[in-house]
């Protein structure tokens, strides 16, 4: 609860921030501070320098550029939850934002921070995978794009290199999305997802031709796409029965997390149930 000493910098531009990071390899950027500060207060993180991104203008926006929705990394959960663009295009993301913590956390926490932190129980990562998004990253020398499917690499670890800053989250607007939804069991203590399921569904006019993207958070060391379920449902009429059957494959090959609240077997059950519920909700 009492952090170690640290220096604090408030750069005005991304370039300035990158320069500070280059000079101080141990430094940490801070977005909303909603994960980082807890770690520091417990002295689980003791960065010598905090580079606060909050004064950098132009990192907080939500806009469409034709084929994509672009979200600035510093956009808060509350802004995402309320955005008409997100609510119309990607209810799954608005619902994930809405499901995060409490109002104070949503007013401070950012999408860039949440993705970078890669908490195995965070809500966004499932939606991010199901929407097949990407992050735009600015490094000391070059910028690059990392696809959602390549982004999460382990427990609290991502494909970000040290010294890189996420500047933008990019989500392709699919031609015809029928529906999308996020469903989660909240841990009664932390409020994080015991299991969260994000579904993005496109169904053709005959009800058969469909394309499902389904992803889970809370199940494994990092958020995962349930490709086995997606495959199992391919070309089938989406009925509750069919979904339930397909969900039997949801944990195929997954190294399930286990904790006091949910052992592997029970967590696998939650994956099946919440997966089904998310797809059913996306169908509505």
């Amino acid at each position: 609860m009492i952090p170690a000493a640290f220096d604090y910098a408030v750069p005005a531009t991304v370039e300035e921030a990158l320069k500070l990071l280059r000079k101080n390899p141990e430094a940490k950027v801070m977005a909303g501070g909603q994960s980082l500060l807890s770690l520091m207060k417990l002295r689980l993180a003791t960065p010598p320098l905090i580079v606060d991104l909050r004064r950098i203008r132009d990192l907080s926006y939500i806009r469409e550029d034709g084929s994509r929705v672009l979200i600035g990394a510093m956009t808060t959960h509350a802004e995402i939850e309320r955005s008409p663009i997100i609510r119309r295009r990607f209810p799954v993301l608005a619902q994930a934002a809405e499901a995060i913590g409490d109002l104070q956390v949503r007013n401070m926490g950012t999408i860039g921070g949440s993705l970078a932190h890669a908490d195995p129980a965070a809500d966004y990562p499932a939606a991010f995978l199901a929407m097949e998004g990407a992050v735009q990253v600015q490094g000391p020398r070059k910028a690059r794009t990392i696809l959602a499917e390549d982004f999460f690499t382990g427990l609290y670890t991502t494909a970000l290199n040290s010294g890189e800053i996420i500047t933008e989250i990019q989500i392709p607007i699919p031609p015809a999305v029928t529906g999308s939804a996020y469903r989660k069991m909240k841990h009664p203590a932390s409020g994080f997802a015991v299991v969260g399921a994000a579904a993005v569904l496109r169904v053709g006019p005959d009800g058969r031709e469909q394309r499902l993207r389904l992803a889970f958070t809370g199940a494994a060391a990092h958020a995962i796409r349930a490709t086995a379920v997606e495959m199992a449902l391919r070309g089938k009429a989406i009925t509750e029965q069919a979904i339930a059957e397909a969900m039997q494959h949801a944990t195929d090959g997954v190294e399930m997390l286990e904790d006091l609240f949910a052992d592997r077997e029970y967590r696998a059950q939650l994956v099946r149930v919440y997966g089904k519920r998310a797809v059913m909700a996306a169908l509505q």
């Binding site: 609860m1 009492i2 952090p3 170690a4 000493a5 417990l42 002295r43 069991m185 841990h187 009664p188 203590a189 932390s190 409020g191 994080f192 006091l260 609240f261 949910a262 052992d263 077997e265 029970y266 059950q269 939650l270 149930v273």
Partner: protein, 792 residues
Amino acid sequence: MAVTALFGAKIKRREDPRLITGEAKYLDDLVLPGMVHAAILRSQYAHARITRIDTSRAARVPGVVGVFTGKDFLDVNPLPCAWQVSGAKHNVNTPRVLEVDHVSFTGAGIAVVVAEDRYTAEDALALIDVEYEPLPIAVDAEEATKPGAPQIHENAPSNICMDWSCGDEEATERALRTADVVIRQRLVNQRLIPNPIEPRGAAARYDPGTDEYTLWSTSQAPHVHRLLITAFVLGIPETKMRVISPEVGGAFGSKIYVYPEYPLMCALARRLGRPVKWMETRRENYVATTHGRDHITYVEVGAKRDGTITALKVKTYANLGGTLSTIAPGIPTTLYGRMLSGAYKIPNIFCRVVGVYTNTGMVDAYRGAGRPEATYVVERSVDLVARELKMDPVEIRRKNFVPRDAFPYDPVGILAGLKYDSGDYEKALNKALELIDYGGFRRQQEEARKQGRLMGIGFSSYVEICGVAPSAWIGLGGQGWGAGLWESGNVRMHLTGKVVVTSGSQSHGQGHETTLAQLVAHELGVPIDDVIVQHSDTLGTPFGYGTYGSRSAAVGAVAVYGSTQKIKEKARRLAAHLLEASETDVVFEGGRAYVKGAPEKAKTIQELALAASVAYNLPPGMEPYFDETTYYDPPNCTFPFGTHACIVEVDSETGQAKILRYVAVDDVGRVINPLIVDGQVHGGVAQGIAQALWEGAVYDSNGQLLTGSMMEYAVPKAEFFPWFETDRTVTPSPTNPLGVKGAGETGTIAATAAVVNAVMDALAPLGITHLDMPLTPRKLWQAIHGRKEGAR
């Protein structure tokens, strides 16, 4: 008249504006000139010998003022255990301000760093080198008593602190042998963490000129803290210390006790010559502040085929933790075993309680303190019998209730001489049934069951014990509590007509400043805004025992009431003198004294206060000033009761139990402020439901607290609950002149059993009769699907 409406009026709490706007001053807001800050090193091991502590690196950190270990305080006594229950030998082990060479739980303090600021103190803490010799660990209270279990304290064979019993063992055995049915069940009442929003803390200042200490502590009982810290721990005159509780942000019992840090701060302040403050972090709070409950109970209940309960035999292992907290032994004995008759006429009762040391945090009173555990045993037992006999849970309650005309009722002697004061248990039950529409629900349930849905209803008809005070009963001549438990109340009326009330009780959220002012304004007939209430400072308040056990109304307010009566009487006599009337002809009513039949020629209480203060015209022998103190020691405890009813639905896919409706009908006697009573009920019900469904402190086999933060330990949030439907019946207590019983704990006492009974009712079609709390989704899902634990 407005004044007569004050008793019983829904007045908004006067303390709330400053609490809500952040103007209130808590311990952490306290800044003293020259103050330094302490941080405490706590044992990482649950059971170990400390072979060496090297503080030299820590001491060299710039800004560190001093680093100390237990060896530096060998002249300070171990903390006292103030309640050794009569009838049982106690093997006492209490904490020292810092442990010297042996630790018995993670979180026990072993060293302290004092520095110019808390950050530096924490930095230095990490540089203290400790060598431990780990010892084998006992966590479970029942296991700890078995042969071969690790031995924690030399003076406590089999880790038993005390082995206590009440009731008639032989008669109960006999009744069980002849009962038509006997139900046997093991019940676990899991360990809880109290979680006040404000953790604990203390700041101490020592004045070398006067040799006096001032201690600010987050305390529910400042006078008791002073008494114990001076006379027992530091060995100095009680008069050399002043204890102040600043605003206290909740406690739930956990701030009754004297903890090691409080005398430690006093000793440090003296040694360093500077004021020292320590404020607990939440992580420390989880390991170093007391926990509650933690019982393993074996219950045997005998009944006739018609549902008449004939015998109740209970054996409980009460986990007391690694060392004893201030009143730990009294909770699972006097406040638990003696309440095991519940709301029922049970002709044979026997209870044995084994208090056990384990390598876990200390356990002491937590909101309800013994009565939630007793209610849980009784209310689960009643339901289990009903299930066995295929009886309606409501009918079995009705059948066994202590009837209305049986009061005062002696529950076959187990209350050691006390009697339930008054009650109408059926009335409260009927009201609850009506509110929840019992018949309607049973029809709805039948429909739901046809669709495979798991809906259930549960009841808890409780009786509890409040106003715990009769000193002859509770004290050294009775239950062994190390003092009396009367309460004090002083009322002064100044020359200006303003009234100051001081109380030995202490508010840490209960709203004393409103309730006591309401009572005094009502009695004296003055505007409520003319009354202020002071408490929580040993300087300026008469000795009092503080607030816990729902005693502030039933004992504390009655003391204040007594003082208002004395002032009224004095005012009446003074008025007679001024009106040149005979004392017997003058009455006092609504703030005015007048000759019977001539109310227009009255003296107001303000005029009389002025006359008493300027004092040039007093009746012969009358002392100036309105200033009266009362020490109230009631003849009996009070026994609130009621019925809570709860409807749940369990999601068979996820195992989640959802509370659909919650009805609480409480009878707390007469109600001074319904708003405050409702608030108390709401909070208590939330905590009680939380125990049933979510909360639970879990230690692993190494004695490490797995639920070490709010990320793992489920403190409930408002969104978890439906709107609580509260109602009341009013059966005045004959024990005190106000007719009040106490309302601070009914929620935690009743709710837990109501919820568990409801969930078991929901799972009845699956043949599930009992599962231990907390009824987490995983546990329910496993039971529903016949997996592992709980499947039966």
